[in-house]
Amino acid sequence: MPPLTRRGPGLDRRLLLKLAAAAAAVSTTRCSPPDDEIIPYVDMPEGMVAGEPMRFATTLSLSGYGRGFIAIAVDGRPIKIEGNPRHPYSLGATDVFAEAEILSLYDPGRSSVVHHGEQIATWEDFAAGWEQAVGARPDDAASDAAVGLVTGRVVSPTTLGRIEALRRRFPALRQYRYEPVNDDMARAGAKLAFGRLVAAAPRWDEADVVLTLDADPLGHGPEQLHIARGFAARRGAEHRQQLHAVEPAWTLTGAAADFRLPLAPRQMGEVARAVARRLGLDLGDPVLSDPQRAFAERAAEALATAQGRALAMAGDGQPPELHALCHWINGRLHAPVDYLPPVDPVEAGHADELQALAEDLRAGRVAALVIVDANPVYDAPDALRMAEAVAAAPFSAHLGLYPDETAQHCQWRLPLSHPLESWGDARAADGTASLVQPLIRRLYDTRTCDEFLALLALSAVRDAYGLTRETWASWAGGDFATWWRTALHDGVIADSRAAPLALSPARPTGLPPPDAPHALTVVLSPDPGVWDGRFAANPWLQECPHPLTKQVWGNAVRLAPGDAARAGIADEDTVDLVVNGATLSGPAVVTEAQADGVVAVGWGQGRFSPAMPIAHGVGTRFVGLGARPFSRLLAGAEIKKSDRSIPFRSTQSHTRLSGRSEALFQLATLAELATSRPEREPAPPSMLGIPPRGDYAWAMVIDTDACIGCNACVVACQAENNVPIVGPEEISQGRDMHWLRVDVYARPQGGAMRTGFQPVPCMHCELAPCEPVCPVEASVHDHEGLNVQVYNRCIGTRFCEANCPYKVRRFNWFAYADGQAYGDFAPALKAQHNPDVSARGRGVMEKCNYCLQRISRARRAAEKEDRQVAEGEMVTACQAACPTRAIHFGDLNSETSDVSRLRRAPRHYRLLEELNTRPRTTYLKRLYVSDAAS
C-alpha cells in the first residue's frame, strides 16, 4: 500500500516549521491566547440553539435494505448515528456500518466532481454526453438505445419509480440488479418449497430452540439488529432459547451458541436429514460420524419437543434443497416464522444477473452502460474479466461514492451524494419503509441515485426532495403535510410492513447425497468490518477488529489446526491459497474447532482502485476466486506456505487461552446458576477511607451472555468520543486507540470450545490503581465515581497505563487527532468531532469516561429542572448502540436501578476481583444450557 503518512527518518519541512514555531513560542514573552473570532448566524434557523445537538430520523441502507436511525447534528454538522427505537430494523440499536457512515460522509477520498476520462467536467457536460450517446433527438425524449442499468438491490419506492420512468424513456432498458451478499440460495429454496418467491422472517423472540445450518443470523447484515434483539430477549437464565449451531468455521452465531458442531459445509444437509427423520420424513441415513450424529439427534429432539417454538434455518452458502427442507421442517414444527412477499421486485438471481451483465457487455448488447452505486469490476470473479467488459461499453458512466474499480473503467465518473446529504426513501427487509432526510447541505456537487435517474430519464422533477415527495404524496393521501412531518419525525412510515402471506405448508423435497469429500473447501463470508468491500475506504471499519480473530486492516485465511499442521503452516504465516489455478495469499489464522478441510476467508478486502488510497492494497480480494459470482463455497482448494510475507495486524494477539482464563471470562451452566447465591458487595477495606458517594454513583454491568461481539459499541464509542484512527503501521507497532475493546475468549472446556466476548471499557475502579501514580492529578476520581482523565493536565508519564491491570488506557503516541492524523483524514475528523469532547493532543493519555459529556448533559438538564437524573435517562454511547442490550448503565445509589439489581444477581462478577480495585464496570457470566460437549 502506498505510504500515507511519512514517519520515517528524514527531516521534513513540517518538522522544521514545528521547531521554528517552538522556538518562536519560547522567545515570545507574551503568552496570551490568540485572537479569536465569533461568527454568528446572519439568520439563525428556527428551533436551533447554537452548540446544542439536534436529532433527526433518517435511513441508512445496507445491501439495499433500509434501516432507520437517528442522526445527531450540532450546528448543522452531523456527528453521530444512533438507533431509532421505532424502526424494526434498528430497535434503538446501531451496527458498525451505520455508525461509520458518519465518517464516510466527511471522507476526503469521496468522489467530489464529475470526471470525463481524466478531465474534470460538469453535470451539464454529462447530460449532453448522455443525450448524445443514447441518440435522442432534442424534440423527442424517447429512445430505443440499448441502455444497461447496473444497480444493487433496489427496494426504495422512489428509486423503483425512477427506474420505471427510465424504462418508459428507454423501452429497451435492461436492468442488471445484483447484490454481492445475496440470498440467491434462500430464494431458490423458497421457490422449491412453496413454488414462489417468499422471504422467511423468523420471530426470534418466540423460538425456544433454534438450529442453524451454516447460517449466521447473528452475524453482520441488514437484519442483524432485528434478529439480535429477538435473540437477546431470550438470553439469560429464564426462558432461555437453546441455540444449536452447525457451521464450518466460527461465526458470531456459533460463538453465541449453546451447542456448536463444526462440520464441513457439504455435510450440513446430513444434520437436516437427521432432523427430518425425527420429524417423520425419511430421506435416507445421514452420513455422519458418531459424535456428529449425537449432536444432530440432540438438536432434532430439542426441536421436535418444542413444537411451535422451534425453528431451523440454513445459510446462504447452502443449496436450495437444504433451504427447502428447512422450510418443511419449520412447517412441521409450526415454527414462529412469517412468510413475507419479497421486497426486491426482481425475480432473477443476483449471480445470474452479474453473469448476464458480463456476457451482454462482451456481446456488445449494451450501448450505454450506467452503473449506479455498484462495483461489478471488484465484485465479479476474475473469470468474468469484468474490467475488460466494462471498458468495452461504447458509453459508460458510474455514479458512486468513491472512484472505485468500476469507475476507473468507465468514461464518466459521477459523484454520488451520501445518504446523510440526500432525500430519499428505503424499505427494510420486511418492507417497512422510511424516509431518508439530509442533515447537511451537499458537501460537493453530487447527485442522489434518484436525481441521477431522473436526469437520465429527463424527468420533470429532478431534485431528490421533490422526487421523494412525489412518490409518497399519492401513497399518503389526505393531509400530506402532516403525514410527511410525522414520517420524517418518526423515521418510519406507519403500516408499510408487508403483510405475512398465508401459505400452504412447504412441500417435502429430496436432498441430494453429500458430495464426496474434497481436499479443502473454501468458505467465503462477508467481512464484519468492510462488508462486501463497500466500506473498505472507511478507516473506522478497517480498524474495527474482526470479532473473532481481532484482525484489523486486512483479512486472513482461517485454517483448521489439522489442515494447518499438514501443510506445515503456523499461526500468522503467510499462506498461498490455490483455487482453480489462481493463487491468492493472506496471513494464516489457525483456529480451533473449525471443521477439518475448511478454509475460511472473508470478502471485501483487496480493493485495488488506485484512487482509493485508504482501501487500496489492504488485504486480499478472495472474492475474485471461483468461476461463478458470489460463490460461498469453493471446492478443491490447496494451501501451502507462501514465499510472500503479509503481516497479520491485530489488536489482540492471544485469543486462545487454555486454562488461564476461567477467572477472567466466567462461565456458568443453568444448573450451576440455580444453586449459586446472589452476590454481595464486598466490604470496603478498613484502612482506606473511601470517600462518600455523591448524588450519583455511576456503574456499568455488561452481560457477556448477551454480547454477540458485533463491535457496534466499539465504533459507537469511537464516533462519540472522537477516538482517532491510528492506521495499519501503528497497529503493527502494537498501538491502538479504541477506548472500548471487545476481548474474545475461546477455551476448550468439557470437550467443547467455550467462547464469548467481553467488552472491556474502563472499569472505573473505586480504588483505582491508575490514580495515585499520576504525579499531576490528571487521573482522578470525581464524586460520582468516575475515574476521569483530565487531558489538559496530563503530562504523559504513562504510569497510569503501566499500573492499570485492565490495560484500558490509550496513549497518543503521535498527534493522531491533531496534526498527525492517519492518511488525509484530519479535516474529516475535525468535521465529525463531537464538540462536547476534547480532541486529545499528542503525548496525552485518554480512556473511557462513561461518556462523561452525556452524564454532564443529563445532569445539567435535570438540575435545570430541579430533579434527579432518572433511570434510563443517561445512556452511554456503547449502551445505546448495543443491539442485544448487553450493556447496562445507571446509578448505584438507587437500590432499584438496573445496575443495582444486576450487581446482586448470581451471575454477577468482577474482573480481576482479587486485586481489590472495586471496579464499577462489572460483568454477568456467560451461560451455557448444560455442560454437555457439543
Binding site: 521547531l19 490503581p769 495515585p772 504525579p775 492529578e777 493536565r793
Partner: protein, 452 residues
C-alpha cells in the same frame, strides 16, 4: 587513630617519591595537557554520539514519543530502563566515597573523586530520561509545587513525584559533596597554575581556601556529616526508584524485595562502571601509581559479593513466583525463561550472576583487563535486567488480551548510545579541567604510607 595503619597494604605505588610528584601527575592533564590522537579520537566519538543524542531529542520533540517502540500496553520502554540503569550507576560514586570515608578505608583516595564525578554525570543522564519519556515534556514543571493560576498541586502519592524529589536531592547533594571535596584541590590548582586567568578561575572556585587548620577542623567535620547523610540518601534514592515498580499492582513489580534488590543492583552496576572508568583513567592519564591492581582486586571482591546477592534476589523472585501460586506471577516467571525475551534473560543471568563467579579466582581478580571486561559485561547485564523489569511485566500482565511484545526502534538505541556518548564526553571534559583524583588525600595517604 581508630583504625590501625594498614602496614601490609600500600595503595600508592613505590614509584612515587614525593608529594609534589603526586600533585604534578594529577595536575598535568589540566595545566600541561598532552593531547594524543587517542584523546581526540575519544572526544570525537563521544562528541559524535552526543550530537546523535541532540538529534534524537530534537526528533523526539518534533515528532512525539511514538518514535520509540512503545505500544499500548508496554507504555514504558528504553527511557525508563535507561533511567534506572544510569541512576544505578550514579549510586556507586557517592556511596563508595561516603562509605569508604566513614569506614576510613585508605583506598578510597584513589577512587572517590572520579567516582563522585561519575555519579554526577550518570545521575544527570538518568535525570534526563524521565523528561524525554514524557508525552508533554514541556509541562514537566507541573510536578513541582509552585504557585500557579490553576490552583493545582502535584499529586504526592505518585512515585514519580518521589522520584523527582529523590533524584533532585541526590543530584544537588552529590554536587555539593563533590564540590566540597574538590575545594582543597582547586586551591592546589590555583597555586600551581602559571597563567593568571587560570589562576583566577580556579581561585574563584577555591573560595580562598588556604588550608588553615581552623578551616580543616570545620571542613573535616562537615565532610564527614555529609558522608553520613549520603548513605541513607543513596539507599533512599534507589529504593524510591524501585517504588516506581514496587508501588504498583503489576505482576512481577509489586514485590517487597524490590527496594533492597534495586539498591544492591545499583551498587553493583556502579562499582562495575567505576572499574571501567578507573581502567581508562589509569591508562589515559598515567595514574598507574595511584590506581593499582590492588584497587581492582578490592572492587572485584565487592562485585563478587554483589553478584551473589543478585543471584539470591533472582532466585527469590522465581521462588515466590512459583510458591505464591498466583496465576499471573507464575506465568511471568515462565515467560522470562521461555518467552521471546528469554535470550536477554539468559544474558542477564550469565553476565550478572554466572560470569562474576570467576572472581573467586585470585588470578582473575588480579588481572586488570579481566576485571574490566567483566565489569563491562556486568553493566550490559544490569541494563538487560532493567529493560526486562520494564518489558516482561508490561508484556505479560493480567489480561492476556493485552499482551504485546516490545520491538525497539532505531531511536530507542540512538538515545541510549547518545547518553553513553554524552556521559563519556562530559567525562573527557572533566578530566581536562578538574583533578580526577584527590591530590590532597593521596598526598596524605602517601605521607602515611611513607612515614613522612
Amino acid at each position: 587513630m581508630s583504625v590501625a595503619p594498614d602496614i601490609e597494604r600500600r595503595w600508592i605505588a613505590p614509584s612515587i617519591e614525593s608529594r609534589e610528584q603526586i600533585d604534578a601527575i594529577i595536575a598535568a592533564p589540566i595545566l600541561a595537557p598532552r593531547h594524543t590522537w587517542r584523546w581526540w579520537l575519544t572526544l570525537a566519538v563521544s562528541g559524535g554520539l552526543t550530537l546523535l543524542m541532540i538529534v534524537t531529542v530534537t526528533w523526539l520533540f518534533g515528532h512525539g514519543i511514538g518514535i520509540f517502540g512503545n505500544n499500548t500496553t508496554i507504555v514504558w520502554g528504553f527511557p525508563i530502563a535507561n533511567y534506572v540503569w544510569w541512576l544505578g550507576i550514579g549510586h556507586a560514586g557517592t556511596l563508595i566515597s561516603a562509605l569508604l570515608l566513614l569506614t576510613r578505608q585508605k583506598w578510597r583516595a584513589s577512587l572517590n573523586r572520579f567516582a563522585e564525578t561519575m555519579t554526577l554525570f550518570a545521575a544527570s543522564m538518568a535525570g534526563l530520561f524521565p523528561i524525554f519519556h514524557l508525552g508533554r515534556p514541556y509541562y514537566l514543571y507541573w510536578i513541582i509545587p509552585y504557585p500557579n493560576v490553576q490552583g493545582l498541586w502535584p499529586q504526592w502519592r505518585s512515585a514519580l513525584v518521589w522520584d523527582f524529589w529523590a533524584v533532585g536531592t541526590y543530584i544537588t547533594f552529590s554536587t555539593l559533596f563533590w564540590y566540597v571535596g574538590l575545594v582543597p584541590d582547586l586551591a592546589m590548582l590555583r597555586d600551581r597554575a602559571a597563567r593568571r586567568g587560570v589562576r583566577r578561575l580556579y581561585g574563584a572556585f577555591a573560595l580562598g581556601w588556604r588550608g588553615s587548620a581552623r578551616h580543616w577542623e570545620v571542613y573535616e567535620r562537615f565532610y564527614r556529616y555529609m558522608a553520613a547523610l549520603a548513605v541513607p540518601l543513596v539507599v533512599s534514592v534507589h529504593s524510591i526508584v524501585s517504588l516506581d515498580f514496587a508501588a504498583s499492582l503489576e505482576p512481577g513489580w509489586a514485590d517487597t524485595i524490590y527496594p533492597p534488590y534495586f539498591v544492591v543492583g545499583a551498587l553493583y552496576s556502579g562499582f562495575a562502571m567505576v572499574v571501567v572508568i578507573a581502567a581508562v583513567l589509569r591508562w589515559a592519564c598515567s595514574f598507574e601509581a595511584f590506581i593499582t591492581v590492588q584497587h581492582f582486586e578490592a572492587i572485584g571482591k565487592v562485585l563478587l559479593t554483589a553478584s551473589v546477592i543478585m543471584g539470591v534476589s533472582y532466585a527469590t523472585e522465581w521462588f515466590w513466583g512459583w510458591y505464591g501460586g498466583e496465576r499471573t506471577e507464575r506465568h511471568l516467571v515462565t515467560f522470562l525463561f521461555t518467552g521471546p525475551y528469554a535470550p536477554l534473560y539468559y544474558g542477564q543471568l550469565l553476565f550478572n550472576v554466572l560470569a562474576p563467579q570467576l572472581l573467586w579466582l585470585p588470578r582473575f581478580r588480579q588481572s586488570i583487563l579481566a576485571v574490566t571486561v567483566l565489569s563491562i559485561l556486568i553493566n550490559v547485564g544490569m541494563w538487560l535486567e532493567r529493560i526486562l523489569i520494564v518489558w516482561a511485566t508490561l508484556s505479560r500482565d493480567y489480561l492476556p488480551s493485552a499482551w504485546r511484545i516490545f520491538l525497539p526502534t532505531f531511536w530507542d538505541w540512538a538515545l541510549l548510545a547518545g547518553s553513553l556518548g554524552a556521559f563519556t564526553f562530559l567525562f573527557m571534559i572533566f578530566a581536562r579541567v578538574l583533578p580526577a583524583l584527590p591530590a590532597y588525600e593521596l598526598g596524605k595517604t602517601w605521607a602515611e604510607e611513607n612515614g613522612a
